[in-house]
Amino acid sequence: MMLGTSIWSRFIEFPFYQNALIAGLAMAVACAVLSVFVVYKRMAFIGQGISHAAFGGVGAALLLQVYLPAFEAPALRDAVIGAFCIGTALLIGRFSRGRRVTEDSAIGICLVAAMALGMLLLDLRKGMGYAPPFHGILFGSILHIARGAVWAACVEAALVVVLVFAFFKELVFFTCDEEAAEVFGVRTGLIYYGLLACVALTIVVAMRLLGVILCSALLILPGATASLWSHHIRRVMVIAVASAAASVAAGLFLAIATRTLSTGPLIVLVMAALFAASWAVNALLDRIRTRAGEGGG
Protein backbone atom coordinates (compact mmCIF):
# COMPACT_ATOMS: atom_id res chain seq x y z
CA MET A 1 0.00 0.00 0.00
CA MET A 2 2.77 2.38 1.03
CA LEU A 3 4.79 1.35 -2.00
CA GLY A 4 1.85 1.88 -4.34
CA THR A 5 1.20 5.33 -2.96
CA SER A 6 4.81 6.39 -3.26
CA ILE A 7 5.03 5.16 -6.86
CA TRP A 8 1.88 7.06 -7.76
CA SER A 9 3.04 10.23 -6.02
CA ARG A 10 6.33 10.10 -7.86
CA PHE A 11 4.49 9.53 -11.15
CA ILE A 12 2.34 12.62 -10.43
CA GLU A 13 5.30 14.66 -9.23
CA PHE A 14 7.55 14.25 -12.29
CA PRO A 15 6.13 15.28 -15.67
CA PHE A 16 8.69 13.15 -17.53
CA TYR A 17 7.00 10.02 -16.19
CA GLN A 18 3.68 11.27 -17.53
CA ASN A 19 5.26 12.10 -20.90
CA ALA A 20 6.76 8.64 -21.00
CA LEU A 21 3.43 6.98 -20.26
CA ILE A 22 1.49 8.95 -22.89
CA ALA A 23 4.11 8.47 -25.61
CA GLY A 24 4.62 4.83 -24.63
CA LEU A 25 0.91 4.07 -24.80
CA ALA A 26 0.61 5.78 -28.18
CA MET A 27 3.46 3.68 -29.55
CA ALA A 28 1.99 0.56 -27.98
CA VAL A 29 -1.26 1.12 -29.89
CA ALA A 30 0.47 1.81 -33.23
CA CYS A 31 2.92 -1.08 -32.95
CA ALA A 32 0.31 -3.55 -31.69
CA VAL A 33 -2.06 -2.81 -34.56
CA LEU A 34 0.74 -3.26 -37.10
CA SER A 35 2.19 -6.29 -35.30
CA VAL A 36 -0.92 -8.34 -36.09
CA PHE A 37 -0.22 -8.01 -39.83
CA VAL A 38 3.56 -8.31 -39.38
CA VAL A 39 3.21 -11.56 -37.43
CA TYR A 40 0.62 -13.22 -39.68
CA LYS A 41 2.44 -12.10 -42.84
CA ARG A 42 5.51 -13.83 -41.34
CA MET A 43 7.70 -10.77 -41.61
CA ALA A 44 8.54 -10.52 -37.91
CA PHE A 45 12.14 -9.79 -38.83
CA ILE A 46 11.15 -6.59 -40.66
CA GLY A 47 11.26 -4.51 -37.46
CA GLN A 48 14.88 -5.55 -36.87
CA GLY A 49 15.88 -4.65 -40.40
CA ILE A 50 14.29 -1.23 -40.46
CA SER A 51 15.31 -0.21 -36.95
CA HIS A 52 18.95 -1.14 -37.50
CA ALA A 53 18.97 1.09 -40.56
CA ALA A 54 18.85 3.91 -38.02
CA PHE A 55 22.57 3.37 -37.43
CA GLY A 56 23.23 4.50 -40.98
CA GLY A 57 20.99 7.49 -40.37
CA VAL A 58 22.75 8.44 -37.14
CA GLY A 59 26.14 8.17 -38.81
CA ALA A 60 24.97 10.34 -41.70
CA ALA A 61 23.41 12.91 -39.37
CA LEU A 62 26.56 13.14 -37.23
CA LEU A 63 28.74 13.64 -40.29
CA LEU A 64 26.37 16.22 -41.74
CA GLN A 65 26.64 18.20 -38.49
CA VAL A 66 30.29 18.83 -39.22
CA TYR A 67 29.49 20.62 -42.48
CA LEU A 68 26.01 21.94 -41.72
CA PRO A 69 25.55 22.96 -38.09
CA ALA A 70 21.79 23.13 -38.71
CA PHE A 71 21.74 19.34 -38.41
CA GLU A 72 22.49 19.66 -34.72
CA ALA A 73 18.83 20.48 -34.28
CA PRO A 74 17.08 17.31 -33.06
CA ALA A 75 14.25 17.68 -35.59
CA LEU A 76 16.62 17.69 -38.58
CA ARG A 77 18.71 14.87 -37.12
CA ASP A 78 15.56 12.81 -36.68
CA ALA A 79 14.51 13.61 -40.23
CA VAL A 80 17.80 12.15 -41.53
CA ILE A 81 17.36 9.03 -39.39
CA GLY A 82 13.74 8.71 -40.49
CA ALA A 83 14.66 9.05 -44.15
CA PHE A 84 17.23 6.27 -43.73
CA CYS A 85 14.69 3.96 -42.08
CA ILE A 86 11.93 4.59 -44.60
CA GLY A 87 14.40 4.34 -47.49
CA THR A 88 15.64 1.01 -46.14
CA ALA A 89 12.07 -0.24 -45.73
CA LEU A 90 11.25 0.58 -49.35
CA LEU A 91 14.53 -0.97 -50.50
CA ILE A 92 13.73 -4.18 -48.63
CA GLY A 93 10.34 -4.13 -50.32
CA ARG A 94 11.86 -3.56 -53.76
CA PHE A 95 14.37 -6.40 -53.32
CA SER A 96 11.88 -8.98 -52.06
CA ARG A 97 9.03 -7.97 -54.36
CA GLY A 98 10.97 -8.99 -57.45
CA ARG A 99 11.10 -12.55 -56.04
CA ARG A 100 14.72 -12.88 -57.02
CA VAL A 101 15.61 -12.91 -53.31
CA THR A 102 13.41 -13.84 -50.37
CA GLU A 103 12.26 -11.20 -47.93
CA ASP A 104 14.35 -12.49 -45.01
CA SER A 105 17.49 -12.30 -47.14
CA ALA A 106 16.59 -8.77 -48.29
CA ILE A 107 16.10 -7.70 -44.67
CA GLY A 108 19.36 -9.30 -43.55
CA ILE A 109 21.30 -7.63 -46.36
CA CYS A 110 19.86 -4.16 -45.78
CA LEU A 111 20.35 -4.50 -42.02
CA VAL A 112 24.07 -5.25 -42.14
CA ALA A 113 24.72 -2.77 -44.96
CA ALA A 114 23.05 0.10 -43.09
CA MET A 115 24.85 -0.78 -39.84
CA ALA A 116 28.22 -1.01 -41.57
CA LEU A 117 27.59 2.30 -43.30
CA GLY A 118 26.69 3.88 -39.97
CA MET A 119 29.89 2.65 -38.35
CA LEU A 120 32.05 3.93 -41.22
CA LEU A 121 30.35 7.33 -41.19
CA LEU A 122 30.96 7.46 -37.44
CA ASP A 123 34.66 6.65 -38.01
CA LEU A 124 34.85 9.58 -40.43
CA ARG A 125 33.20 11.81 -37.88
CA LYS A 126 35.59 10.65 -35.14
CA GLY A 127 38.46 11.68 -37.37
CA MET A 128 37.07 15.22 -37.14
CA GLY A 129 36.69 15.39 -33.39
CA TYR A 130 34.29 14.24 -30.71
CA ALA A 131 31.40 12.04 -31.80
CA PRO A 132 28.49 11.42 -29.47
CA PRO A 133 27.96 7.71 -28.77
CA PHE A 134 25.21 5.59 -30.24
CA HIS A 135 23.91 4.83 -26.78
CA GLY A 136 20.61 6.69 -27.02
CA ILE A 137 19.79 4.95 -30.29
CA LEU A 138 20.58 1.52 -28.90
CA PHE A 139 18.48 1.63 -25.78
CA GLY A 140 16.17 4.59 -26.19
CA SER A 141 15.39 7.20 -23.59
CA ILE A 142 11.74 7.09 -22.77
CA LEU A 143 12.27 9.17 -19.62
CA HIS A 144 14.02 11.99 -21.48
CA ILE A 145 11.56 12.94 -24.17
CA ALA A 146 10.25 16.42 -24.81
CA ARG A 147 6.59 17.42 -25.09
CA GLY A 148 7.03 17.71 -28.83
CA ALA A 149 8.04 14.06 -29.10
CA VAL A 150 4.99 13.08 -27.07
CA TRP A 151 2.77 14.88 -29.56
CA ALA A 152 4.65 13.30 -32.46
CA ALA A 153 4.03 9.85 -30.97
CA CYS A 154 0.31 10.54 -30.55
CA VAL A 155 -0.10 11.93 -34.07
CA GLU A 156 1.85 9.03 -35.57
CA ALA A 157 -0.21 6.47 -33.66
CA ALA A 158 -3.46 8.13 -34.74
CA LEU A 159 -2.28 8.12 -38.36
CA VAL A 160 -1.44 4.41 -38.23
CA VAL A 161 -4.77 3.50 -36.64
CA VAL A 162 -6.75 5.54 -39.19
CA LEU A 163 -4.83 4.05 -42.13
CA VAL A 164 -5.20 0.48 -40.87
CA PHE A 165 -8.94 0.90 -40.43
CA ALA A 166 -9.35 2.62 -43.79
CA PHE A 167 -7.59 -0.21 -45.63
CA PHE A 168 -8.61 -2.99 -43.27
CA LYS A 169 -10.24 -5.34 -45.79
CA GLU A 170 -7.33 -4.96 -48.22
CA LEU A 171 -4.77 -5.56 -45.44
CA VAL A 172 -6.63 -8.64 -44.25
CA PHE A 173 -6.83 -10.08 -47.77
CA PHE A 174 -3.17 -9.25 -48.46
CA THR A 175 -2.06 -10.90 -45.23
CA CYS A 176 -4.03 -14.11 -45.50
CA ASP A 177 -3.59 -14.79 -49.24
CA GLU A 178 -1.54 -12.29 -51.22
CA GLU A 179 -1.85 -13.93 -54.64
CA ALA A 180 -5.62 -14.28 -54.40
CA ALA A 181 -5.84 -10.68 -53.20
CA GLU A 182 -4.17 -9.60 -56.43
CA VAL A 183 -6.62 -11.69 -58.48
CA PHE A 184 -9.62 -10.25 -56.64
CA GLY A 185 -8.59 -6.68 -57.38
CA VAL A 186 -6.50 -5.62 -54.37
CA ARG A 187 -3.57 -3.39 -55.31
CA THR A 188 -1.15 -5.57 -53.39
CA GLY A 189 1.91 -3.48 -54.25
CA LEU A 190 0.31 -0.39 -52.77
CA ILE A 191 -0.77 -2.30 -49.65
CA TYR A 192 2.68 -3.89 -49.19
CA TYR A 193 4.65 -0.66 -49.55
CA GLY A 194 2.05 1.18 -47.48
CA LEU A 195 2.44 -1.37 -44.69
CA LEU A 196 6.25 -1.11 -44.90
CA ALA A 197 6.07 2.70 -44.77
CA CYS A 198 3.75 2.58 -41.73
CA VAL A 199 6.08 0.15 -39.97
CA ALA A 200 9.11 2.33 -40.80
CA LEU A 201 7.43 5.52 -39.61
CA THR A 202 6.33 3.83 -36.40
CA ILE A 203 9.84 2.53 -35.79
CA VAL A 204 11.35 5.97 -36.32
CA VAL A 205 9.12 7.35 -33.57
CA ALA A 206 9.22 4.30 -31.28
CA MET A 207 13.01 4.12 -31.49
CA ARG A 208 13.42 7.24 -29.33
CA LEU A 209 11.50 5.48 -26.58
CA LEU A 210 12.77 1.91 -26.67
CA GLY A 211 15.85 2.04 -28.86
CA VAL A 212 16.86 0.05 -31.92
CA ILE A 213 17.34 -3.23 -30.11
CA LEU A 214 14.05 -3.22 -28.29
CA CYS A 215 11.52 -1.42 -30.46
CA SER A 216 11.15 -4.29 -32.91
CA ALA A 217 9.88 -6.32 -29.94
CA LEU A 218 6.80 -4.09 -29.94
CA LEU A 219 6.20 -5.10 -33.55
CA ILE A 220 6.25 -8.84 -32.82
CA LEU A 221 5.17 -9.63 -29.27
CA PRO A 222 1.67 -8.09 -29.12
CA GLY A 223 0.57 -9.84 -32.33
CA ALA A 224 2.21 -13.11 -31.35
CA THR A 225 0.61 -13.08 -27.89
CA ALA A 226 -2.83 -12.17 -29.24
CA SER A 227 -2.65 -14.90 -31.90
CA LEU A 228 -2.58 -17.47 -29.09
CA TRP A 229 -5.90 -16.30 -27.68
CA SER A 230 -8.33 -15.94 -30.57
CA HIS A 231 -9.14 -16.93 -34.14
CA HIS A 232 -11.19 -13.79 -34.75
CA ILE A 233 -9.30 -10.89 -36.32
CA ARG A 234 -11.04 -8.10 -34.37
CA ARG A 235 -10.49 -9.85 -31.05
CA VAL A 236 -6.86 -10.47 -31.98
CA MET A 237 -6.41 -6.73 -32.66
CA VAL A 238 -8.01 -5.77 -29.33
CA ILE A 239 -5.94 -8.29 -27.36
CA ALA A 240 -2.74 -7.14 -29.10
CA VAL A 241 -3.40 -3.48 -28.26
CA ALA A 242 -4.43 -4.29 -24.68
CA SER A 243 -1.39 -6.46 -24.00
CA ALA A 244 1.00 -3.88 -25.47
CA ALA A 245 -0.57 -1.00 -23.52
CA ALA A 246 -0.58 -2.99 -20.28
CA SER A 247 3.07 -3.96 -20.80
CA VAL A 248 4.15 -0.36 -21.40
CA ALA A 249 2.33 0.84 -18.29
CA ALA A 250 3.59 -2.05 -16.18
CA GLY A 251 7.18 -1.60 -17.40
CA LEU A 252 7.12 2.12 -16.64
CA PHE A 253 5.71 1.71 -13.12
CA LEU A 254 8.21 -1.08 -12.42
CA ALA A 255 10.95 1.34 -13.42
CA ILE A 256 9.57 3.98 -11.07
CA ALA A 257 9.32 1.44 -8.25
CA THR A 258 12.81 0.03 -8.68
CA ARG A 259 14.42 3.43 -9.40
CA THR A 260 17.49 1.80 -10.95
CA LEU A 261 16.16 -0.47 -13.69
CA SER A 262 15.73 0.87 -17.26
CA THR A 263 12.23 1.33 -18.61
CA GLY A 264 12.71 -0.03 -22.14
CA PRO A 265 14.06 -3.47 -21.19
CA LEU A 266 11.42 -3.73 -18.43
CA ILE A 267 8.62 -3.14 -20.96
CA VAL A 268 10.03 -5.76 -23.30
CA LEU A 269 10.45 -8.30 -20.50
CA VAL A 270 6.87 -7.75 -19.32
CA MET A 271 5.68 -8.36 -22.89
CA ALA A 272 7.85 -11.47 -23.21
CA ALA A 273 6.50 -12.77 -19.89
CA LEU A 274 2.94 -12.17 -21.09
CA PHE A 275 3.71 -14.14 -24.23
CA ALA A 276 5.30 -17.01 -22.29
CA ALA A 277 2.38 -17.15 -19.87
CA SER A 278 -0.13 -17.10 -22.76
CA TRP A 279 1.74 -19.88 -24.47
CA ALA A 280 1.88 -22.00 -21.32
CA VAL A 281 -1.81 -21.47 -20.49
CA ASN A 282 -2.86 -22.37 -24.03
CA ALA A 283 -0.67 -25.46 -24.08
CA LEU A 284 -2.23 -26.50 -20.77
CA LEU A 285 -5.78 -25.83 -22.03
CA ASP A 286 -5.08 -27.89 -25.15
CA ARG A 287 -3.87 -30.77 -23.02
CA ILE A 288 -6.95 -30.60 -20.78
CA ARG A 289 -9.24 -30.48 -23.82
CA THR A 290 -7.51 -33.46 -25.41
CA ARG A 291 -7.78 -35.44 -22.19
CA ALA A 292 -11.45 -34.51 -21.79
CA GLY A 293 -12.00 -35.58 -25.41
CA GLU A 294 -10.35 -38.94 -24.73
CA GLY A 295 -12.34 -39.45 -21.53
CA GLY A 296 -15.62 -38.52 -23.18
CA GLY A 297 -15.28 -40.91 -26.02
Binding site: K169, F173, F184, G185, I233
Partner: protein, 268 residues
Protein backbone atom coordinates in the same frame (compact mmCIF):
# COMPACT_ATOMS: atom_id res chain seq x y z
CA UNK B 1 2.65 -36.53 -82.13
CA UNK B 2 -1.01 -37.37 -81.45
CA UNK B 3 -2.41 -33.90 -81.87
CA UNK B 4 -6.05 -33.57 -82.73
CA UNK B 5 -7.29 -30.61 -84.71
CA UNK B 6 -9.76 -28.68 -82.64
CA UNK B 7 -13.10 -27.79 -84.12
CA UNK B 8 -13.66 -24.05 -84.37
CA UNK B 9 -17.44 -24.09 -84.46
CA UNK B 10 -17.88 -22.47 -81.01
CA UNK B 11 -15.54 -19.56 -81.46
CA UNK B 12 -18.22 -16.90 -81.45
CA UNK B 13 -20.04 -17.95 -78.29
CA UNK B 14 -16.97 -19.05 -76.39
CA UNK B 15 -16.50 -18.35 -72.69
CA UNK B 16 -12.77 -18.84 -73.23
CA UNK B 17 -11.05 -18.46 -76.61
CA UNK B 18 -7.33 -19.08 -76.93
CA UNK B 19 -5.65 -18.82 -80.33
CA UNK B 20 -2.00 -19.65 -80.96
CA UNK B 21 -0.90 -19.01 -77.38
CA UNK B 22 2.80 -19.43 -76.65
CA UNK B 23 4.69 -18.34 -73.57
CA UNK B 24 8.38 -18.25 -72.86
CA UNK B 25 9.90 -17.71 -69.41
CA UNK B 26 12.51 -14.96 -69.11
CA UNK B 27 15.24 -17.63 -69.16
CA UNK B 28 14.03 -18.71 -72.61
CA UNK B 29 12.26 -21.93 -71.58
CA UNK B 30 9.17 -22.54 -73.66
CA UNK B 31 6.36 -23.13 -71.15
CA UNK B 32 3.39 -23.14 -73.54
CA UNK B 33 3.47 -23.74 -77.27
CA UNK B 34 0.75 -22.89 -79.77
CA UNK B 35 -2.25 -23.53 -77.53
CA UNK B 36 -5.66 -23.37 -79.21
CA UNK B 37 -8.63 -23.82 -76.93
CA UNK B 38 -12.27 -22.81 -77.26
CA UNK B 39 -14.59 -23.40 -74.36
CA UNK B 40 -18.33 -22.96 -74.76
CA UNK B 41 -20.36 -21.20 -72.08
CA UNK B 42 -21.69 -23.39 -69.32
CA UNK B 43 -19.27 -26.23 -69.94
CA UNK B 44 -17.08 -27.93 -67.35
CA UNK B 45 -13.64 -28.35 -68.85
CA UNK B 46 -10.76 -30.12 -67.14
CA UNK B 47 -7.19 -29.48 -68.19
CA UNK B 48 -4.96 -32.32 -67.07
CA UNK B 49 -1.24 -32.73 -67.34
CA UNK B 50 1.77 -33.75 -65.29
CA UNK B 51 3.71 -31.39 -63.04
CA UNK B 52 5.66 -28.90 -65.09
CA UNK B 53 3.30 -29.18 -68.06
CA UNK B 54 2.41 -25.49 -67.94
CA UNK B 55 -0.95 -25.74 -66.15
CA UNK B 56 -0.14 -23.02 -63.62
CA UNK B 57 1.33 -20.80 -66.35
CA UNK B 58 -1.83 -21.16 -68.42
CA UNK B 59 -3.96 -20.39 -65.36
CA UNK B 60 -1.91 -17.29 -64.57
CA UNK B 61 -2.27 -16.06 -68.15
CA UNK B 62 -6.04 -16.61 -68.01
CA UNK B 63 -6.13 -14.64 -64.75
CA UNK B 64 -4.20 -11.77 -66.29
CA UNK B 65 -1.30 -12.20 -63.89
CA UNK B 66 1.24 -13.05 -66.58
CA UNK B 67 1.75 -10.86 -69.61
CA UNK B 68 4.24 -11.06 -72.45
CA UNK B 69 2.67 -14.05 -74.19
CA UNK B 70 2.16 -14.53 -77.92
CA UNK B 71 -1.25 -15.23 -79.40
CA UNK B 72 -4.74 -14.19 -78.46
CA UNK B 73 -6.60 -14.90 -75.22
CA UNK B 74 -10.21 -13.83 -74.71
CA UNK B 75 -12.50 -14.49 -71.76
CA UNK B 76 -16.10 -13.62 -72.52
CA UNK B 77 -14.68 -11.41 -75.26
CA UNK B 78 -12.38 -9.53 -72.86
CA UNK B 79 -8.63 -9.57 -72.36
CA UNK B 80 -7.60 -11.54 -69.25
CA UNK B 81 -6.67 -8.32 -67.41
CA UNK B 82 -10.06 -6.76 -68.18
CA UNK B 83 -11.88 -9.98 -67.28
CA UNK B 84 -10.12 -10.07 -63.93
CA UNK B 85 -10.67 -6.35 -63.37
CA UNK B 86 -14.42 -6.66 -63.96
CA UNK B 87 -14.75 -9.86 -61.96
CA UNK B 88 -15.74 -11.80 -65.10
CA UNK B 89 -13.22 -14.53 -64.35
CA UNK B 90 -12.35 -15.43 -60.75
CA UNK B 91 -10.18 -17.99 -59.15
CA UNK B 92 -10.43 -20.85 -56.68
CA UNK B 93 -6.79 -21.35 -55.68
CA UNK B 94 -5.40 -24.43 -54.00
CA UNK B 95 -6.32 -24.08 -50.36
CA UNK B 96 -2.74 -24.89 -49.37
CA UNK B 97 -1.55 -21.46 -50.48
CA UNK B 98 -3.86 -19.81 -47.99
CA UNK B 99 -2.43 -18.73 -44.64
CA UNK B 100 -4.77 -21.04 -42.73
CA UNK B 101 -3.65 -19.81 -39.32
CA UNK B 102 -4.98 -16.34 -40.12
CA UNK B 103 -7.77 -15.42 -37.70
CA UNK B 104 -10.69 -15.09 -40.09
CA UNK B 105 -14.10 -16.75 -40.25
CA UNK B 106 -15.82 -18.50 -43.15
CA UNK B 107 -18.13 -15.53 -43.69
CA UNK B 108 -15.27 -13.00 -43.58
CA UNK B 109 -13.12 -15.02 -45.99
CA UNK B 110 -16.02 -15.31 -48.46
CA UNK B 111 -16.61 -11.55 -48.25
CA UNK B 112 -13.03 -10.90 -49.33
CA UNK B 113 -14.20 -11.89 -52.82
CA UNK B 114 -16.05 -8.56 -52.89
CA UNK B 115 -13.05 -6.44 -51.90
CA UNK B 116 -12.07 -5.52 -55.45
CA UNK B 117 -15.67 -4.96 -56.51
CA UNK B 118 -16.33 -2.63 -53.59
CA UNK B 119 -13.14 -0.61 -54.18
CA UNK B 120 -10.80 1.05 -51.74
CA UNK B 121 -12.24 3.04 -48.83
CA UNK B 122 -15.70 1.67 -49.55
CA UNK B 123 -17.84 -0.87 -47.79
CA UNK B 124 -19.72 -3.76 -49.37
CA UNK B 125 -23.14 -2.94 -50.80
CA UNK B 126 -26.26 -4.51 -49.36
CA UNK B 127 -27.09 -6.10 -52.71
CA UNK B 128 -23.68 -7.76 -52.92
CA UNK B 129 -23.96 -9.09 -49.37
CA UNK B 130 -27.45 -10.45 -50.08
CA UNK B 131 -26.08 -12.18 -53.17
CA UNK B 132 -23.24 -13.62 -51.11
CA UNK B 133 -25.75 -14.95 -48.57
CA UNK B 134 -27.39 -16.90 -51.41
CA UNK B 135 -23.99 -18.25 -52.46
CA UNK B 136 -23.17 -19.29 -48.89
CA UNK B 137 -26.48 -21.08 -48.65
CA UNK B 138 -25.85 -22.82 -51.94
CA UNK B 139 -22.40 -23.95 -50.78
CA UNK B 140 -23.95 -25.26 -47.53
CA UNK B 141 -21.89 -22.90 -45.38
CA UNK B 142 -24.65 -21.04 -43.54
CA UNK B 143 -24.27 -23.15 -40.40
CA UNK B 144 -20.55 -22.42 -40.11
CA UNK B 145 -20.21 -18.78 -41.26
CA UNK B 146 -18.77 -17.75 -37.89
CA UNK B 147 -16.30 -20.63 -37.68
CA UNK B 148 -12.59 -19.69 -37.96
CA UNK B 149 -10.93 -21.17 -41.05
CA UNK B 150 -8.33 -22.83 -38.82
CA UNK B 151 -11.09 -25.22 -37.69
CA UNK B 152 -12.35 -26.28 -41.13
CA UNK B 153 -12.05 -29.58 -42.96
CA UNK B 154 -10.48 -29.61 -46.41
CA UNK B 155 -13.91 -29.77 -48.05
CA UNK B 156 -15.34 -26.91 -45.99
CA UNK B 157 -12.38 -24.68 -46.79
CA UNK B 158 -12.66 -25.54 -50.48
CA UNK B 159 -16.37 -24.64 -50.46
CA UNK B 160 -15.54 -21.35 -48.73
CA UNK B 161 -13.02 -20.55 -51.46
CA UNK B 162 -15.65 -21.30 -54.11
CA UNK B 163 -18.08 -18.97 -52.31
CA UNK B 164 -15.40 -16.25 -52.28
CA UNK B 165 -14.83 -16.75 -56.01
CA UNK B 166 -18.58 -16.55 -56.74
CA UNK B 167 -19.08 -13.38 -54.66
CA UNK B 168 -18.24 -10.87 -57.44
CA UNK B 169 -20.69 -12.69 -59.80
CA UNK B 170 -18.20 -14.09 -62.31
CA UNK B 171 -19.03 -15.82 -65.59
CA UNK B 172 -15.97 -18.05 -65.56
CA UNK B 173 -14.53 -19.92 -62.56
CA UNK B 174 -10.93 -21.13 -62.76
CA UNK B 175 -10.27 -23.91 -60.25
CA UNK B 176 -6.73 -25.04 -59.40
CA UNK B 177 -6.60 -28.71 -58.29
CA UNK B 178 -10.12 -28.41 -56.84
CA UNK B 179 -10.32 -31.94 -55.44
CA UNK B 180 -6.83 -32.41 -54.09
CA UNK B 181 -7.55 -31.25 -50.51
CA UNK B 182 -10.80 -33.24 -50.18
CA UNK B 183 -11.18 -36.86 -49.15
CA UNK B 184 -12.72 -39.33 -51.61
CA UNK B 185 -16.16 -39.28 -49.95
CA UNK B 186 -16.27 -35.49 -50.01
CA UNK B 187 -15.18 -35.23 -53.65
CA UNK B 188 -18.52 -36.49 -55.04
CA UNK B 189 -20.45 -34.08 -52.86
CA UNK B 190 -18.22 -31.17 -53.81
CA UNK B 191 -18.64 -32.07 -57.46
CA UNK B 192 -22.45 -32.08 -57.08
CA UNK B 193 -22.24 -28.63 -55.47
CA UNK B 194 -20.15 -27.33 -58.36
CA UNK B 195 -22.70 -28.65 -60.84
CA UNK B 196 -25.59 -26.99 -59.01
CA UNK B 197 -23.60 -23.74 -58.85
CA UNK B 198 -23.10 -23.97 -62.59
CA UNK B 199 -26.83 -24.48 -63.16
CA UNK B 200 -27.87 -21.73 -60.74
CA UNK B 201 -25.41 -19.01 -61.71
CA UNK B 202 -24.66 -20.02 -65.31
CA UNK B 203 -20.90 -20.06 -64.90
CA UNK B 204 -18.33 -21.86 -67.00
CA UNK B 205 -15.95 -24.07 -65.02
CA UNK B 206 -12.34 -24.61 -65.96
CA UNK B 207 -10.53 -27.04 -63.70
CA UNK B 208 -6.82 -27.71 -63.78
CA UNK B 209 -5.40 -30.91 -62.29
CA UNK B 210 -2.57 -33.41 -62.44
CA UNK B 211 -4.90 -36.11 -61.08
CA UNK B 212 -6.65 -37.57 -64.11
CA UNK B 213 -8.43 -40.32 -62.17
CA UNK B 214 -10.32 -37.90 -59.94
CA UNK B 215 -11.24 -35.35 -62.56
CA UNK B 216 -12.20 -37.58 -65.50
CA UNK B 217 -15.81 -38.36 -64.46
CA UNK B 218 -16.39 -34.83 -63.18
CA UNK B 219 -15.96 -32.92 -66.42
CA UNK B 220 -17.84 -32.71 -69.69
CA UNK B 221 -14.76 -32.01 -71.74
CA UNK B 222 -11.14 -32.70 -71.13
CA UNK B 223 -7.92 -31.27 -72.46
CA UNK B 224 -4.48 -32.76 -72.03
CA UNK B 225 -1.65 -30.29 -71.57
CA UNK B 226 2.05 -30.96 -71.82
CA UNK B 227 3.47 -27.68 -73.04
CA UNK B 228 1.00 -27.91 -75.90
CA UNK B 229 -2.53 -29.28 -75.98
CA UNK B 230 -2.67 -32.91 -77.08
CA UNK B 231 -6.35 -33.57 -76.83
CA UNK B 232 -9.44 -31.48 -76.35
CA UNK B 233 -12.73 -33.28 -76.49
CA UNK B 234 -15.15 -35.55 -74.69
CA UNK B 235 -13.60 -37.64 -71.90
CA UNK B 236 -14.89 -40.90 -73.46
CA UNK B 237 -12.71 -40.37 -76.50
CA UNK B 238 -9.52 -40.02 -74.55
CA UNK B 239 -7.23 -42.83 -75.70
CA UNK B 240 -4.46 -44.52 -73.73
CA UNK B 241 -2.03 -43.36 -76.43
CA UNK B 242 -2.77 -39.70 -75.77
CA UNK B 243 -2.52 -40.22 -72.03
CA UNK B 244 0.74 -42.09 -72.19
CA UNK B 245 2.17 -39.38 -74.41
CA UNK B 246 1.05 -36.53 -72.17
CA UNK B 247 1.95 -38.05 -68.85
CA UNK B 248 5.33 -39.30 -69.99
CA UNK B 249 6.19 -36.05 -71.59
CA UNK B 250 9.73 -35.03 -70.82
CA UNK B 251 10.61 -31.37 -70.63
CA UNK B 252 14.05 -30.97 -72.17
CA UNK B 253 14.79 -34.59 -71.42
CA UNK B 254 14.26 -34.23 -67.69
CA UNK B 255 12.40 -37.18 -66.19
CA UNK B 256 9.19 -35.91 -64.57
CA UNK B 257 7.96 -36.67 -61.09
CA UNK B 258 5.34 -39.12 -62.37
CA UNK B 259 7.68 -42.11 -62.48
CA UNK B 260 5.02 -44.59 -61.47
CA UNK B 261 3.14 -43.98 -64.73
CA UNK B 262 6.14 -44.85 -66.84
CA UNK B 263 5.73 -48.32 -68.33
CA UNK B 264 8.60 -50.71 -67.87
CA UNK B 265 9.95 -48.85 -64.86
CA UNK B 266 9.55 -49.31 -61.14
CA UNK B 267 9.62 -52.93 -60.05
CA UNK B 268 6.64 -54.19 -61.98
Amino acid sequence: MPHRKISHDHVQEGAICINGLSFRYPDGTLALEDINLHVRRGVTLAIVGPNGAGKTTLLKILLGLLGGYQGQVRIEGLSPEAARHHGVATWVPQSSQLNASFPITVGQLARLGLVGKAGMLRGFTRADLAYLDRVLEMMELVGIVDRPIAHLSGGQLQRTLVARALAPRPKVLLLDEPFSAIDIAGQERFHDLLESVKAEFGVTLLMVSHDLRTILDKSQRIACLARTLHFHDLPEQLTPEVLSHVFHYDLDGLPLAEHEHRPGEGGR
